[in-house]
């Protein structure tokens, strides 16, 4: 006969024991989870190249299969235009390094946005995604990789739209399709945790993209990704303030034409104010705002590993040397006499705004360096500094950070504000100017020869994977499209103007001196 009281006590003890075990297991799991991410001890170079800056995007297995699942989005030029890495202007990674991912993608065990630990690695993009470039002279040239140089072929905004279009495709972008494609491509099954995380990520990411659609419209996809009428940024440019206005002010920024080329990041110690208009002073704030514009959050940027990586990446750029022309192009011999004459032209017409390298290599400040010149004075395109909300964005940015939040920008470090207005462009050091191509803040002038008005500036040209011309110092831009140069750059549309900055002289204008300009170009190749 069963002793009911004894049975009851036994059941109660079992219930308590099972609960206690579950609790202990949960606490152990949480402890184990905390070890998936650790405070980084990465050095500046490693941080710049491979470390997380809080901008995780998708699980690694998804990243690995997306181009196969969506060739229409990741090879919008068709198979003949190359694989997705080539079509979006990325720099191919090396086997065995950083999972073989293209340059600028990192792998971390942080979940997107929150930075919480993830059992499944996530892929994101860091500083070197935009600020590392290849200089190629032929289509088959492996090229010279230059760290700190703005990527001349990266079509970032198109890649983002292609990715969003894929995420929104509920018929083709399913967990099962991801799992099956992964198994087909890599010959192994995904683990249970990977499958669960992918499902979770897909649900939440799709929801996020869908929620944004009423504000920012549907993303473009397929062949439209290469249509400059729809995707006006094109290679090597972004619209940084459109994203900030959207993310911080919750406005669509429909009228924004503030296209910005991806800038170089050499010797940042000599830059008191960052951005083309000198609108941000503090270096950490510059990096934080750049990271937030592409998906980082205050929450994950405050985490020890991520904040350390951001600081280390900044440290990397403080003394990062620009490339030497003669190292990149050893076959190009510079004429010493022309260089000497060109130095005099530079001193007379360029030095006061830009400064020059001293004999010890340190940058000697120009008299007007760090001055913001009104864009009307320069004659260059004003969309970058006159966009809607230009005057209120800085306040909104600061207010978007809680008071006392460690990353909250100091209001005086942002302009317009207490430190003045910035509706213009700032005079900055021009380290290794041959590697700044394309020129002006909006990348509207392909070569240095055209920037200094030695040669006429083209009105319409095609951008993409453009080759480098060491003679004119800049990008070779065809006047008709081909598979690799697909983006029609029309300098007549808002934000694309190639006018202005007519220094030393306007093309064939008063004082124009072809010989002096050739000398100047030669000198510019030496600094």
């Amino acid at each position: 006969m069963i002793d009911k009281a004894k049975l009851g006590r036994g059941l109660m003890k079992a219930g308590i024991a099972v609960t206690a075990v579950l609790l202990a297991a949960t606490l152990l799991f949480i402890y184990a989870e905390s070890t998936w991410v650790r405070a980084s001890s990465a050095d500046p170079e490693h941080s710049f190249l491979y470390a997380t800056t809080g901008t995780e995007i998708m699980p690694l297995p998804v990243f690995q299969v997306l181009p196969y699942l969506f060739p229409d989005q990741f090879q919008p030029g068709g198979p003949a235009a190359g694989d997705w890495i080539q079509q979006y202007g990325l720099i191919r990674g090396k086997e065995g390094v950083n999972e073989g991912l293209p340059q600028g993608f990192f792998v971390s065990n942080h979940r997107p946005k929150s930075g919480a630990p993830s059992p499944v690695p996530f892929v994101g993009i860091n500083c070197s995604f935009c600020h590392t470039s290849l200089i190629k002279r032929t289509d088959s040239d492996p090229g010279v990789m230059v760290r700190g140089m703005g990527n001349t072929s990266l079509d970032f905004i198109a890649w983002v739209d292609g990715f969003k279009t894929a995420v929104l495709d509920e018929k083709r972008m399913t967990p099962k399709a991801i799992f099956d494609t992964y198994e087909q491509k890599f010959g192994k099954k995904l683990s249970l945790s990977e499958k669960l995380m992918i499902r979770l990520w897909l649900i939440q990411t799709r929801q996020t993209v869908q929620e944004a659609e009423p504000k920012v419209d549907d993303p473009f996809g397929g062949a439209d990704l290469r249509n400059s009428a729809y995707m006006p940024n094109g290679p090597s440019r972004t619209q940084p303030f459109r994203n900030l206005v959207r993310n911080v002010m919750n406005r669509p920024a429909m009228l924004d034409h503030g296209y910005c080329k991806l800038p170089v990041l050499y010797e940042q110690k000599d830059r008191d104010w960052g951005q083309f208009d000198g609108s941000v002073k503090d270096r950490l704030t510059r990096s934080v705002l750049a990271a937030i514009a592409i998906g980082a959050t205050m929450q994950n940027l405050s985490m020890p590993e991520i904040s350390n990586n951001v600081e280390q990446s900044i440290a990397y750029t403080l003394d990062l040397k620009g490339p030497k022309f003669t190292d990149v192009f050893p076959d190009q011999k510079l004429d010493a006499q022309k260089v000497a004459r060109g130095q005099l032209v530079y001193a007379a017409h360029c030095d006061s705004c830009h400064g020059h390298p001293g004999s010890d290599g340190a940058w000697v400040r120009g008299e007007k360096q760090d001055t913001v010149f009104p864009y009307q004075t320069l004659g260059t395109d004003g969309e970058r500094v006159s966009f809607r909300h230009f005057d209120t964005l800085a306040d909104a940015l600061v207010d978007s950070f809680p008071p006392k939040q460690p990353l909250r920008p100091n209001r005086a470090d942002l302009r317009p504000g207490p430190m003045g207005d910035t509706q213009g462009y700032i005079g900055v050091p021009i380290v290794a100017p041959f590697s700044h191509a394309p020129y002006l803040h909006n990348g509207s002038i392909p070569t240095l020869a055209e920037l200094i008005n030695l040669k006429p500036r083209p009105d319409v040209f095609y951008r993409g994977d453009n080759l480098y011309d060491p003679v004119d110092a800049g990008l070779i831009v065809p006047d008709h499209p081909d598979a690799l140069r697909y983006f029609r750059f029309d300098t007549s549309i808002p934000g694309n103007s190639n006018k202005g900055h007519d220094y030393p002289w306007a093309y064939h204008g008063p004082g124009w001196n072809e010989a002096a300009l050739k000398d100047l170009l030669e000198y510019l190749k030496t600094i």
């Binding site: 308590i16 579950l22 929150s114 939440q204 809680p402 006392k404």
Partner: protein, 201 residues
């Protein structure tokens, strides 16, 4: 003074729901990309689920020792769940910065939350260590049992929306129901029914 003898049944009736709710709160958050935030949310749900029986047991009449024991255990476990919420809120969400808590929540809400945290802790400690009926402890407990549920009501019904509203309404309904039972018992005690022949039929 009564002797507290907590039985196996009482521990089972309180620890098992506490443990399971906490496990669900902590592990359920794994299904979110914002893991710490969801743990903060789910743990306060667990707190409320455990607090409702504790409040009812405190309010209901006829406070027998077994009922007192159950109250003590639910009150304690609810507080432990609350401490988990407090950890994810203050230590994780607000980066262990009291300044940030006050800056983001405002002085009134942050001050109230810290008051709840300390007052509840004090009451739990006193409940375990002092068994005699000390007057000031009784008054403090009465006030705590008014103030703490009030703050939870404001948060769960007035300030926030979502599933927490269900818990907020359930807590409110539970308190009102238990108060009615208590009032009814008090009224019966104050007005005993006199058995007469007429009324007896």
């Amino acid at each position: 003074m009564s002797t507290r003898q907590i039985t196996l049944g009482q521990v089972t009736a309180t620890f098992v729901p506490f443990g399971l709710l906490l496990v669900a709160a902590l592990m359920g958050a794994e299904t979110a990309l914002d893991l710490p935030f969801q743990r903060m949310i789910y743990s306060i749900w667990a707190t409320m689920a455990l607090m409702i029986p504790a409040l009812c047991l405190y309010i209901l009449p006829s406070r027998t020792q077994p009922r007192k024991n159950l109250w003590l255990l639910y009150w304690t476990f609810a507080y432990l769940a609350y401490l988990v919420h407090f950890y994810y809120a203050v230590m994780v969400h607000y980066h262990a910065s009291i300044t940030e808590v006050f800056a983001q929540q405002g002085v009134k809400i942050a001050g109230s939350n810290f008051l709840v945290t300390f007052w509840w802790a004090l009451d739990v400690v006193l409940a375990w260590t002092v068994q005699s009926d000390v007057k000031w402890i009784g008054i403090s407990r009465l006030l705590a049992n008014i103030y703490i549920p009030f703050t939870f009501f404001v948060a769960s019904v007035v300030l926030f929306q979502g599933f927490v509203n269900v818990l907020g309404y359930a807590m409110t309904a539970g308190i009102i129901l238990c108060l009615l039972v208590r009032i009814h018992a008090w009224w019966l005690a104050a007005h005993p029914v006199v058995q007469t022949e007429a009324s007896g039929g």
